[in-house]
Amino acid sequence: MIAGLKDALMETSVYLPIQARIRDIHQMNELTKLFTIDLPAGINLNHRPGQFLQVSIMGVGEAPISISSSPSRTNGSFQMCVRKAGDFTGVMHKLQPGDTLGVRGPFGHGFPYERFRGKDMLFTPGGIGLPPLRSLINQVLDDRSNYGRVIILYGARNPSELLFKEELQEWEEREDVELLVTVDRGDENWKGYVGVITTLFPKIQVYAPNTVSFTCGPQVMYRFVVTELIGMGIREGNIYLDMERRMKCGIGKCGHCQINHEYTCKDGPCFTYAHLKTLEEGL
């Protein structure tokens, strides 16, 4: 009996994907599409924000992709935001609504969001790092009274690479969300901040002992963001970083995603800085 997608792993093969159907595809910008995907009837995703799926196109291959919808807005269907970056995502971008995709998972530890009740939540996504954090952001917004401040510092290379623009607009308009957006290079219509994400930090003040931060983006930005966060006084154990590595199996066996002895797929992909700094291959 398969009630959650994960149960399927215990059946005949841990590598056998369940076929799910694409309901909707939304072009977010030149290279990025948002896929809304229906699981077969009766199967739930039961995921946590920060978890990912191994997505299959049989004959092409498999790739780890984060889930960008929140558990609060995921029932039989969920969302994944995919940038065309390699062979697999190139083919995935050619799919149409109605086509099927194989999915296995969800894998990894998500963010332990139950632990953050009453905390001030500071999100610092960079570029394509917004989709995984959007899962947690919406989870928090759907349970808003249980959290303190919600602060989002979002950086992208240029205005056209900003993702989820309608949601950004919504967050902008909400009084209980503090959103600051910056781009590395503006264009003639851009009236917001210009500069890398770290230029946003001096613009906010936080009460550090009660703040938990969440970062996802290109790895090169992590060291700079962590320096800012620590400078603000945020505890190392309250700094969460979502890590990227090559992955093949998703279940801690194939070896590709190791950060020293840890498997990013199984022990991550969300790590605290307190933990990550003990791993030489971490940052």
Binding site: L9, M10, T12, S13, V14, Y15, L16, P17, Q19, S56, M58, G59, V60, G61, E62, A63, A85, G86, D87, F88, T89, T100, G102, Q219, E244, R245, R246, K248, C249, I251, G252, K253, C254, G255, H256, Q258, I259, N260, H261, K266, E280, E281
Partner: protein, 354 residues
């Protein structure tokens, strides 16, 4: 465990009987070397083999393995599970320890059904080594030069017969119908003890550190200049990991027909020494340079994988040393690390004394 005896003249009959029920995989001569391969009779195998080119793990986790078969036109994908009853015959004890290690790996967190279907349907007949295989073997150091506690059926050459240590029901079952197998008598046990007693001194220690010290030694050697030295010599060919009985990293590749409609998803052995191993789409390599890759390999062998009971990720078979084109060997590397640490300790002590 019960101890039984099978006369050497009976082995041929035994294999013939086994061949009726099982696929038999055993060491056989291949050019100037030996390899585990499927055999039908005793005459095809050679139990006097030294080591094999590839370890017998390939019978459980093949170099190339179909995991799934798919047909996109029918929207059908299915798992390929191999459950052929198999006897893996004549496995040296280092390789048996390694298989026990792989059992742990493929079971922890998520059970790999493909591996375990083979494993459950495979009975292993292991063989006691009475001499070291090669100059590179350091099985005595790694504690694998004799059989582990968990085994099916273990053979020791005691002259004109083999002593058989029966360790499991499936091992016992292999002996059904072999008339000349009998329980060991007093004289057989004495002969077995004599053989083993004579064996121990033939094996020598190669490592200057004890196996229990290796994880600690690695831990304090992360920044050692030795890795740079290995990195400069290493060609990144991946031979060391491909011949390793405890390496299990893999890649998954789809092989489809010309139209891309049907085919297989396959698992193939991969190597952390190859330059694409840790790189992602977009090109970023999370473990660049051969020095980092060699260090990762050594850490995986001697520190990271201490989850398996009483085992590190190395069984001391020496295959990687034989295969290496530039003579990178664990014994040499570990001893250098050990002596550097001892020297560093002395320097510190002298500094304190002054």
């Amino acid at each position: 465990m019960t101890l039984k005896i099978i006369p050497k003249t009976e082995i041929s009959n035994w294999i013939e009987l086994l061949n009726r029920k099982y696929r038999i995989i055993a060491p056989a001569p291949v050019q100037q070397h030996f390899a585990f391969k499927e055999v039908k009779s005793f005459s095809e195998m050679d139990l006097g083999y030294r080591t094999t080119i590839l370890p017998p793990k390939k019978a459980l986790s093949p170099q190339y393995e179909e995991l799934l078969t798919f047909n996109n036109l029918e929207n059908h994908t299915e798992a390929v599970i191999d459950d052929t009853p198999t006897v893996l015959f004549g496995v040296h004890t280092c390789d048996l320890h390694a298989i026990n290690f792989l059992d742990t790996v493929f079971q922890r967190d998520y059970t790999d059904q493909h591996y375990f279907s083979r494993r459950k349907n495979t009975v292993i007949v292991s063989l006691e080594c009475l001499e070291p295989c090669t100059e590179y073997s350091f099985c005595k150091d790694m504690g694998t030069y004799t059989a582990p506690a968990e085994l099916d059926l273990h053979m020791v050459d005691i002259g004109d017969a083999y002593a058989l240590n029966v360790g499991s029901e499936s091992g016992e079952k292999l002996l059904n119908g072999i008339e000349r197998v009998h329980l060991a008598a007093d004289k057989d046990e004495k002969q077995l003890n004599r053989v083993l007693h004579n064996k121990w001194p033939r094996f020598t220690y190669h490592l200057h550190a004890d196996i229990t010290e290796l994880p600690g030694l690695m831990g304090s050697s992360y920044k050692s200049p030795i890795w740079e030295d290995l990195g400069k010599r290493c060609l990144g060919c991946g031979s060391c990991t491909l011949v390793c009985p405890t390496c299990y990293c893999f890649d998954m590749v789809d092989e489809a027909d010309f139209a891309g409609n049907s085919g297989h998803r396959c698992r193939v052995w991969d190597s952390c020494q190859l330059n694409q191993f840790a790189s992602v789409a977009g090109g970023h390599d999370f473990r660049p340079g051969q020095a980092n890759r060699q260090r990762h390999r050594f850490f995986r062998k001697y520190k990271y994988q201490s989850f398996a009971p009483s085992l590190l990720g190395c069984v001391g078979c020496g295959r990687c040393s034989s295969a290496c084109l530039v003579d990178i060997t664990p014994v040499d590397t570990l001893n250098k690390l050990f002596h550097r640490r001892v020297a560093a300790k002395h320097t510190r002590q002298e500094a304190v004394a002054q």
